[in-house]
Point group: C2
Chain length 189, copies 2
DNA sequence: CCTCTTGGCTAATGGGATTAGCTTCGAAGA
DNA sequence: TCTTCGAAGCTAATCCCATTAGCCAAGAGG
């Protein structure tokens, strides 16, 4: 390797780090290049321009959060699993705001060879399976859960909750709301 | 040539229209200027650069959606009001995706002289008042509702719901979920 | 008719993305 | 060890957009 020893993985990793620090929106090739000590055009040997880099960061984020959720859910079931997973979800977003913002743009390039080793939606689906929800409602349940978790985290990270009331408590109540609703949807009443 | 007869309001309106058509992210002064038939720098006489323009569009969006929600809620109460408002919320986002995206960035410049004639959060709060929720839970309830509505609409607009299941039905179920939860939170049990 | 404010313009600067084409590192093989 | 070749990184050049500076004319008020 000629000097810097870059690899696609290294570039993407640095980009992800930068996204977390400065925001996914302001991610730029120039910034990544500076951080890696190379000239901007050099990056084109490893990633497919800015759009490609953003896509890679998103992909990294999806797999990352999927792994987190899985780790949180393993060994639990029902409401307990839901609580743990919801917690992990929010914690991931806080820890990696840039990656989290990035992965929201994934659907655009969906259908591609996305190759998820850890799909967050699959984990949520598995968690919901512990609620005995009739099959024809499963998709709706997953959508509802994703909406609630994402909406809360998104508003929170944008500074949308201005009042002094404890945000953790709000989140806990949201999660308990889901527990209640999903119980009410269960086949057994 | 005071020919073009621009005003701040006109510029912002065109910017909002463009945001809805091409996406708030790709809004640019150059595009707005072209659309209005003037040179880019001319816009600086009316708005405070690109950041200022984005802020104005966001402000427009907040007031817009606030007015929509208010119109939907008036004359109704309780679950009925909640359903109507939730519907209006989603409909607004679909009709004006650019403005909707813009208003999510409002919190950043909050505290300013924001002067909302129609504050969407206030409307939601009023709607929730019909559920007899204890005062100390009100803020949490509003946060939960905002999270659910925003999260759903956001995921939907990003193409996050890929499966063929009816999205309208999913949304209806989410709203009914809120009805159930808020009922359970009501002081009267 | 004169003047002053003000909206719109052109020119110029700076930054980021992207492309083209050059150079040199470093490994594989004679 | 010497040669060759592919790939990594670089510089130069182009394009697009935001922003600033400074010019000019139009229209209201006297």
């Amino acid at each position: 390797m000629s000097r810097a020893g870059l690899t696609p993985a290294l570039v993407v990793q640095e980009a992800a780090r930068l996204s977390d620090e400065r925001g996914f929106d302001s991610l730029s090739l120039a910034m990544v290049a500076a951080r890696l000590g190379v000239a901007t055009p050099s990056l084109y040997k490893h990633v497919d321009g800015l759009p490609g880099l953003r896509r890679e960061v998103a992909l990294l984020g999806v797999n990352d959060i999927g792994a987190c959720l899985q780790r949180a859910a393993v060994g639990r079931s029902g409401p307990d699993a839901l609580r743990a997973t919801a917690d992990a979800y929010r914690r991931y977003a806080h820890a990696h705001p840039g990656r989290y913002a990035a992965l929201q743009q994934m659907p655009r390039w969906a259908g591609a060879e996305v190759e998820l080793s850890h799909d967050p939606v699959t984990v949520l689906a598995a968690v919901l399976r512990g609620f005995d929800i009739p099959e024809e409602r499963m998709v709706h349940a997953i959508r509802a859960l994703r909406s609630g978790l994402h909406g809360f985290v998104d508003l929170e990270m944008r500074g949308g909750f201005g009042l002094p009331e404890d945000v953790n408590e709000s989140y806990a109540l949201v999660v308990e709301g889901f527990v209640r609703v999903f119980r009410s949807w269960s086949a057994s009443g």
